[in-house]
């Protein structure tokens, strides 16, 4: 089976700091693939390169065979990216925000409305969608943003720390959205998280990132067995020599 994402020997340098240092991984269609690691490991940089925001210093990234540098415009048609600290437009209502975003995907008014309606259901925010987003809690905003990222049925959804900073209930809701949507719509998800326990329950496969390099990769269960660990946190600690 061909890969949805194929990253080969990707290097990204900021000044004299190597944020990515020969990163290679591949994501299979319809799987949820997690890049996990501590803060500063290079997760966000990797996702930004995949989502065409940053240019790799060297190496290649292809999405469904399209190079993210050479064919960035093509790639943007099939991906959806949710940044870690993404915000909404404060003075738009949740519904207006969804409609605004839907219009970038289709010019058909009916389709725009359908897309926004579907996203509205995903959010589970109900009547609150009529309120301006500046009145939303962090969790409500995140649900809106996750729905936005999935509303156009992207072939690849790139989610940076999708549950970061959320309380248990909101985090649970967001994870359920992702799981359900992947199942129903055959979407591939590439996500990052520093919450290794959460990723363990959500991802089909994970790659452990440290200092811009992948230090271990596989199914969560396989990794735990291989490293004789109770969870992925322990795996990571053993891989980087902390335990």
């Amino acid at each position: 089976m061909s890969s949805t994402v194929e990253a080969i020997d990707v290097v990204k340098v900021f000044g004299d700091i190597h944020a990515l240092d020969g990163l290679s991984f591949s994501v299979k269609p319809t799987e949820i693939f997690g890049l996990i690691g501590p803060n500063g490991a290079g997760k966000t940089t990797a996702l930004r390169v995949v989502s065409t925001l940053l240019l790799p210093t060297s190496g290649t990234v292809k999405i469904f065979g399209s190079d993210v540098v050479q064919k960035a415009a093509e790639v943007r048609k099939i991906i959806a990216y949710l940044p870690e600290e993404a915000g909404t437009y404060r003075n738009l209502s949740g519904w207006e925000y969804l409609e605004f975003m839907a219009k970038f995907n289709t010019k058909d008014k009916n389709k725009t409305r359908e897309m926004a309606k579907e996203a509205a259901e995903i959010t589970g925010l109900g009547e609150r969608l009529k309120d301006k987003t500046k009145t939303y809690s962090k969790g409500m905003k995140r649900r809106l943003l996750v729905a936005r990222a999935l509303m156009n049925k992207p072939k690849l959804a790139i989610l940076d720390e999708p549950t970061s900073g959320l309380d248990v209930l909101h985090a649970y809701h967001v994870r359920e959205i992702i799981k359900r949507y992947v199942k129903e719509q055959d979407v591939t998800v590439l996500l990052s998280s520093h919450n290794m326990l959460e990723v363990e329950h959500l991802c089909d496969r994970v790659a452990l990132l440290n200092k811009g390099k992948i230090v271990a990769e596989g199914k969560p269960q396989e990794l735990k067995e291989n490293f004789e660990s109770a969870n992925l946190e322990e795996v990571f600690a053993k891989v980087v020599g902390l335990a």
């Binding site: 900021f14 000044g15 700091i17 944020a19 803060n39 500063g40 490991a41 290079g42 997760k43 966000t44 940089t45 930004r48 989502s51 065409t52 925001l53 940053l54 240019l55 415009a73 943007r76 048609k77 991906i79 959806a80 990216y81 949710l82 940044p83 870690e84 600290e85 993404a86 915000g87 909404t88 437009y89 404060r90 975003m101 970038f104 995907n105 943003l145 936005r148 811009g212």
Partner: protein, 430 residues
């Protein structure tokens, strides 16, 4: 004392002082801008004064009597006088004489002046000795129209010396090469003062206001973390730039109209106190034509566009609204300096180096255009439009390149000389 006030104050001061962009905008720019502005103004004033001193008053003596000779000698105390005799003045002759003597003002002492003066001195106060004054109206700044005031002073002085109200000055103004009889240049200048002040101030405020809006709109996307999402959408990134510019132009346009209405009312209330007699700017050809208004509008539009594009580029180098405002604030001097200089002086009267500087700054051109359309000098306006358009295209190209690359996210102005002790940011590397 309020509980916690001192602590909050200390934190605020630390935050402000440690932000190099604010430090630059609040301290260094004013410290540099005002001395530079003062230097430019005094240099310009000095040049204008020297020019006025060198200016020649042409006296056409068609009388040739003792009193005309005495009157000419008296004028020579205040201004440099050049005398020609016995010329019948009409439009062509007047203009040629002024051109030949490189003068902008002419006094004709008509035949019979000395006879009338003698009569007056002998007690027949019903007879006045008149002189005819012609001054070229250049449409210049506040300091440009001082010439006729000097003549008024000289005639008053002569009258005080010889006999009260002996000499009466019949004034005419030469506008766009045509003599307009019974138009006092100084009253005309005062009438045009509203334009000399209003346009530079309007443009100055319009530009700073709209640049602030444009910078805020991009910085807000960064601050609210919405820009990253936008940049990954299936859309032309140039559309983001154009959308932001157009939105800013619309808002700035509405602001400008509101401002101009308010300012017009303000100037109108001031103008009502100035005696203008029967002067009508439209009949004197000093109201811009439809073409003039059109060219002025285009000039203003391209300048606004270039300012907004520049603001967008600068704001891309900041991470938040406050930083963007501070950065764009650094552009204030290049808006204020031409506005203030052109408020007081006509660009053509400036020393060469300053004239070049004023023409190089794109924000001078709508101010120059406003005066030029009044005087019917459309080529100057067209030149300005072409220049600012080229400047704008360069800026727009740079802005579009910035939006097309990762620089829109990663660009930051580095003030290493101000933050020697700061550690490198690691946020990018998460």
């Amino acid at each position: 004392m309020l509980k916690g006030f001192g602590n909050i104050l200390l934190k605020e001061i630390k935050e402000l002082v440690r932000d190099p962009k604010i430090l630059l905008a609040m301290l260094i720019v004013p410290l540099i801008m005002f001395p530079v502005l003062g230097g430019i103004m005094s240099y310009s004033m000095q040049a204008a004064r020297e020019q006025a001193e060198k200016a020649t008053l042409l006296v056409v003596d068609n009388d040739g009597g003792n009193w005309s000779e005495l009157f000419t000698e008296y004028l020579n105390f205040s201004v440099k006088v050049s005398v020609v005799n016995n010329r019948t003045l009409n439009n062509t002759v007047t203009l040629k004489l002024l051109s030949d003597h490189n003068a902008t003002q002419l006094i004709e002492i008509p035949s019979g002046f000395s006879a009338n003066m003698t009569e007056y001195k002998n007690g027949n106060t019903k007879i006045n000795a008149t002189v005819n004054f012609y001054g070229i109206f250049s449409g210049g700044g506040i300091l440009q129209e001082v010439g006729s005031a000097i003549i008024d002073d000289s005639v008053s002085g002569f009258n005080r010396l010889v006999a009260p109200n002996a000499v009466y000055t019949f004034k005419s103004t030469i506008i766009k090469g045509e003599i307009q009889k019974n138009v006092d240049p100084s009253i005309l200048s005062r009438l045009m003062l509203s334009q000399a002040i209003a346009m530079p101030i309007t443009i100055m405020i319009l530009l700073t206001y709209s640049m602030s809006i444009a910078a805020t709109s991009v910085a807000m996307e960064k601050e609210e973390k919405t820009l990253e999402t936008l940049l990954t959408l299936p859309m032309d990134r140039f559309a983001i730039l154009m959308g932001k510019l157009s939105g800013s132009i619309l808002i700035a346009g509405v602001g400008a109209i509101a401002y101009m209405i308010g300012f017009n009312y303000y100037m109108g209330s001031i103008m009502a106190t100035i005696p203008s007699g029967t002067l009508d700017l439209v009949s004197l050809g000093l109201a811009p034509s439809l073409l003039g208004y059109l060219l002025l509008g285009i000039s203003l539009f391209v300048t606004l566009l270039s300012a907004l594009a520049l603001a967008v580029i600068m704001s891309a180098f900041s991470e938040d609204v406050r930083g963007a405002q501070s950065l764009v604030g650094n552009l204030t001097p290049i808006i204020i300096i031409p506005a203030l200089v052109l408020m007081y002086l006509d660009v053509n009267s400036l020393p060469l180096a300053l004239k070049i500087l004023i023409y190089v700054l794109p924000y001078s051109h709508p101010i120059i255009a406003a005066r030029a359309v009044t005087m019917g000098d459309y080529w100057t306006v067209v030149f300005g439009i072409v220049y600012v358009t080229v400047f704008t295209l360069v800026i727009m190209y740079a802005a579009s390149r910035l939006f097309a690359t990762e620089k829109i996210l990663t660009a930051k102005l580095k003030f290493r000389w101000l933050r020697k002790h700061e550690k490198k940011p690691t946020k990018e590397l998460q």
